[in-house]
Symmetry: C2
Subunit: 480 residues, 2 copies
């Protein structure tokens, strides 16, 4: 019993200390841990299996729109990184440098890729010649490295896993369309697969990616009221590819510029998942990215017939295509329940002597704790519906939470008030001057523009800070 | 017409210059190319898609035996690499060193992983305490980097993609069994999926992995008679984990050592695939790893009804689950045939006005060029069988080639004679002394032991070089 108490007690409550709760959940659910390499993570089986489901889902969405996967080197020669001015300024302070190969000092340093625009452009500058070579719509799944000072599991680490898509197109319009298409894929993915609602739109000038002309972002709201930048899609115009001298001969025999995009989603999404859905008992996973959708827990398993019935059910569920496990260890049922809850497994099925007698099982939902008695003849068929309901309910609850945490402000008093308790997003108008944003950020204790709102009527004509004419309305929020 | 000739001419014949043929096929099929990072590859869509199919197949086989995927950092602190003496000696000369992070010089250097035994052991030394924590059966798909001097696409490059499995077990027997189990998985994979035959067995002492007690290898024979080490599975005993102080408390309350294995297969396998199956017209892919199983080529596509019929067929094949493409470009059919052949697509379907009139299509096999007339009503169902036949025939032909290139030798005259023309594998006996092997290697122009033969009667009692008592019989071969 002492051990069981310990298991539950190891998670701080969210209200008490959200940051500590997060750390506790990541540790207790064994998703990842820090390695001996400062600031770098070991992605453990429970965490990596979530990433594999995310990859499979997103990769399918990409390929349906014609994306092809590739893999480019993890090293970038220093001279390549320097070709685009904004880009090098943005990344130089945070890359790791390789200076020696084997026993020799290298003539030119390489950095470990913090992102790969430069390598893709370098490749295309050598291989793209004609309009027949366009478009290129490529993606790679890989790790990148940024020498961050402060790190947190999944949210910010030196090395992290992601996908980075890179494309070039013959026209401005086609590239812009691709930028928006990928932003839409990210929105669909967050809504349908991670059950995470969001606000989304273009980034303000000062929040854009280094070298980009436009950045579209998906911003999700965490349980503590902070925003998480969850995916971004960038439009580069022709500035970046021009710096690499990528030109093509068009049908009219003219030499022309290409237009570029890039877009990425990382293991940060797992951090978001935890902070949107988790509760004081641990992780709560949406079924579509749950490595195990259902865990069978035999009750009084020493009694005759219990384990047999449990194994039979296990085989039937497995055969039907469910991701199912059985916990037939010698731990107590209470301990097993507690573990299943910590791991966020969407459902458990309890089966004991009484259930067998009544030809039934008990299904317990992780998200609501609702218990359902289901006939043993129907469970294989019904579990699908239960998982779908959980997926839908989880989104709806999170969407309700998001909507309840979007506010408006037309002056700074209101703004400060709304942000006093980490309230979420606040809509407010702005002249577009980064200095004004910096002032707002200082006064509110960290709120900045998360994205611009372009499809709604502005709630004010004035910048919330300087009172000069407003250029934008934006979602403001404190962010991870 | 000039262009069509060029396309075909760009591939040197195998008999004329095998190395050049290989380079030509890799380039013309657009599998990969060298990047601006010396010795590192760009894996292009055609090449990477093969790797994705290899990954999916192998990953499924792994998971069926309980393997869990993880991801550990790409950087290894220098002190960790040094914990196991043989290991550091084996790898130190060929790693890349990171010495600066951001603007700062690091206190301790990191190498980019050449392999990850050290990181897995480091993690387990902190997390494994009890017999309940065992076994760990983990794998990661990642890239590794070895600062090679001479490189060739897929076969040897500084950075390459692979999977590395790492496991620890409570007993010697269990670890040994896992080592052999994974070697068996590689054998099954090569036979069933890549249609590549091989010889296999334990490596001789001097050919083992740095730090391993036993290495099991799969050695495939290329068309030029050279062997390719195609996958390896290593048994470390407890030496390696002891160096990292991984101990566990067993049920009897005693502190005990664990036993370790590791096993890997890399993008080298794609190089093997090319050199076993390719011909003078380009790549020939076994259907199971062909990103496109069938390409539809409309004939006289300007004529009424042809493109419609081709699109209808395309949709039907796609719906039935085939990986199918259609080439409706404005190139000539001859040009399209040539491209399909270069790319190694296992089948093409030709459909023209006459075919439509006769309610048929023409299926052409890439491997044999055999043409088959198939009713348009039956093609969706019959293509499956055609692809299976190709897969089987490709293996059978390669197996026949392998068997025709295994010889025996009991003295050096015979040995030299057999290796004069890059004949393949030669069975010969050996005292086990690395010096004798070195002498044989020098005299034969490069033949070394590829693996030991332990389940056959020895063909001689004497070492082929020194005539002292033979300890082993081995397959000898020149290798990539």
């Amino acid at each position: 019993m002492a051990k069981e108490k310990k298991l539950v007690k190891n998670i701080t409550s969210r209200e008490e200390d959200f940051a500590q709760w997060y750390t506790d959940v990541v540790r207790e659910a064994q998703l990842c841990d820090y390695s001996s390499v400062k600031g770098c993570l070991n992605y453990l089986p429970n965490g990596y299996a979530i990433w594999e489901l995310i990859q499979a889902d997103l990769d399918r969405r990409f390929k349906e729109t014609g994306v092809e996967n590739v893999y480019l080197p993890e090293l970038i020669p220093e001279n390549l990184l320097q070709k685009e001015k904004d880009h090098i300024e943005g990344f130089a302070p945070e890359v790791a440098w390789v200076t020696h190969g084997g026993m020799e000092k290298l003539q030119e340093r390489f950095c470990i890729r913090p992102t790969s625009e430069t390598l893709f452009c370098d490749l295309w500058s050598r291989t793209v010649q004609s309009y027949r070579d366009l478009p290129k719509v490529w993606n790679q799944w890989c790790s990148v490295l940024r020498w961050e000072k402060t790190t947190r599991p999944f949210l910010r680490s030196r090395e992290f896993l992601w996908q980075e898509g890179h494309t070039i197109h013959a026209t401005y319009e086609e590239a812009e369309e691709r930028t928006k298409m990928m932003a839409q894929i990210y929105r669909d993915f967050y809504k349908e697969t991670l059950a995470m609602p969001f606000v989304s739109g273009r980034k303000a000038e000062n929040e854009k990616f280094a070298g980009a002309q436009d950045t579209y972002t998906v911003e999700a709201l965490m349980h503590d009221g902070k925003a998480l930048q969850a995916a971004t899609s960038h439009f580069f115009g022709s500035g970046f590819p021009d710096a690499f001298d990528i030109k093509y001969i068009d049908k009219d025999n003219q030499l022309k510029s290409v237009y570029e995009t890039s877009w990425g989603l990382s293991t940060r999404s797992i951090g978001g998942l935890i902070m949107v859905h988790g509760d004081d008992d641990g992780l709560v996973l949406p079924p579509r990215v749950a490595p195990v959708e259902c865990r069978i827990i035999p009750i009084a398993q020493h009694k005759e017939g219990v384990l047999d019935a449990a194994y039979t059910l296990f085989e039937e569920l497995k055969k039907a295509g469910y991701r199912v496990k059985i916990d037939d260890s010698d731990k107590s049922p209470g301990w097993k329940f507690s573990e299943q809850e910590i791991l966020g497994i969407p459902t458990r099925i309890e089966i004991g002597p009484k259930d067998i007698e009544n030809h039934q099982v008990v299904v317990v939902r992780r998200d609501t704790r609702e218990k359902m008695v289901v006939s043993i003849d129907e469970i294989v068929q019904k579990l699908k519906g239960i998982l779908e309901t959980i997926q839908k309910d989880m989104y709806d609850r999170a969407e309700e939470f998001l909507q309840a945490h979007i506010d408006t402000a037309v002056d700074m008093d209101e703004m400060v008030e709304k942000f006093k308790e980490n309230r979420g997003f606040v809509k407010a108008c702005w002249c577009g001057d980064p200095d004004c944003e910096a002032e707002v950020k200082a006064v509110t204790g960290g709120a900045s523009t998360r994205c611009l709102i372009e499809d709604e009527e502005m709630i004010s004509d004035e910048c919330i800070w300087c009172k000069k004419p407003a250029k934008h309305m934006a979602y403001w929020g404190k962010s991870y």
